[in-house]
Symmetry: C2
Subunit: 335 residues, 2 copies
Amino acid sequence: MAKQGKASLKFENAPGIIASACVAGEKEGEGPLGEMIDEIIVDPMAGKNTWEEAESELQKRAAEHALEKAGLPVGRIRYLFAGDLLGQSIASTFGLMKFNVPLFGLYGACSTMGESLSLGASFVNAGYADNVMCVTSSHFASAEKQFRFPLDYGNQRPFAATWTVTGSGAVILSQDGGNVCIKGVTTGKIVDYGIRDSMNMGAAMAPAAADVIYRNFLDFGVDGSYYDHIVTGDLGEVGQRALLDLLQKKNFDISEQHLDCGLMIYNGEEQDTHAGGSGCGCAAVTLCAALLKKLEQKEWRRILFVPTGALLSPTSFNEGQNIPGIAHAVIIERR
Amino acid sequence: MAKQGKASLKFENAPGIIASACVAGEKEGEGPLGEMIDEIIVDPMAGKNTWEEAESELQKRAAEHALEKAGLPVGRIRYLFAGDLLGQSIASTFGLMKFNVPLFGLYGACSTMGESLSLGASFVNAGYADNVMCVTSSHFASAEKQFRFPLDYGNQRPFAATWTVTGSGAVILSQDGGNVCIKGVTTGKIVDYGIRDSMNMGAAMAPAAADVIYRNFLDFGVDGSYYDHIVTGDLGEVGQRALLDLLQKKNFDISEQHLDCGLMIYNGEEQDTHAGGSGCGCAAVTLCAALLKKLEQKEWRRILFVPTGALLSPTSFNEGQNIPGIAHAVIIERR
């Protein structure tokens, strides 16, 4: 029995993270995590003809790096759990096709790395697979084209807006090995606070992050001090303030533990990224470049990794729908 | 250990299907399955302002009917596994939000019902949940708007084109109960045969269906005769011929067992639906309206349910990419 509380699973055979890798673009390479990224792809087209193909190439390369680090042929990966931000998840389809591995396609917006790790770890813990790979990506240009304005407009961005990370992360989970493992997960619900501003996604996602962190605390009977850090995906500065306030109202103060991948991946002021980084790639790259290394190198013992997603499409946004959020929490700790 | 062969799981604690329900539009109501559909929603807008909201309403109502049939309050559902065809899965987001249940968002194109049943059954079999609900939908008008041409153009449709089903199906899986259960699953890979014609999706999906059925036979050591029927999602007439040919080349003849939801849901000639029905809702409605009833009423003992998806987006299609396919196979049998 792995059920824990109302929305969580606790893994008895905690799946190990036996390898992880990330690739990213030039801007991310110039940021604070640059030196820890496995490959910087300076060409925004990654040698391809379209931004979407470029994003697929990021996924392919991240997965290849992870396989190489794990020393596993791709045939040893039983399942892929993957998704991205683009309509009909085409970055994943065309990026991962060549691996010829059974695939569960996911859509969790920018929470996808949390969703894929949750499902992948659940499968490995249950004995359904020896090894699985969890992959996601985003690309600044393909996301702007999909969700906002053509880049050629050169439109101004408000300070609450985030900057979509060009990058991909891949994590291989295994029944055996790995100094760092996934101990449990808390699965998020869709939370709608009536936000309608696609230039302020942090505010849209913060309630979902607060909800899943709160449920994680209740389900495991812990508070913020149980974790060295609680790391959200891409709330940015505006979303961070909202998150801390919302949890404070439930009598949990996580101001000492809280980090946000969106605030870690760029030097905000120098790089003109406004409220921070965002996109599926933001949490994925930060996890693989920095967070897992802190755990492996024994600087940290345990984190709660909470990728955050804003559930909108260009259609729903233009039709005046709200932007609900979702977030998935993953307990990652040193063995 | 539930692993079976290279791409399959066999469930020791086979999750029971304790309830299922479907809703559909007027055209589906006039088809051969009409009387078995739980609710026909004649208004294509389902009382809403947009086609996308209408599709969300279909999901909401299918889920409500399933809960009512199961006699379960929604609080007893631990996880939702859901997705749809629209960019960023907005039909699911806005349709299922009100249930306030932890959600794994999926994208498998029209194979989504197979993917959601596969993941849902895996979770229940592992003891991760007492009850889960698997939901998907499609809507003729929201899909045409998303993938093809504005309806107002009144463009002609080639005979190889299918007709997207307006409908939604919801299935509740449980650790206890249910005369019909999910005995195992085979998870599909992305298969690309170089098809580029979005008006001939059957041809794009048939190779993926053939691949997953072939793997199912190998993994379980069976052939077509093991099943009363092998029921693909929405290959239509053109895809059916391709599927039978492809399996024949691997020395498996399933011509006696094969059925296709796309060929069951409409009276093709009378209803002018050309090659058949398609969409996530096609397999979902046919499963809930007809297939599960045949099993429950002991007409059939065991089927292989194989929803089929075409992995394209308007962007990938317009950029000249191929249309790869994916299919997920689910063994459903009477206890």
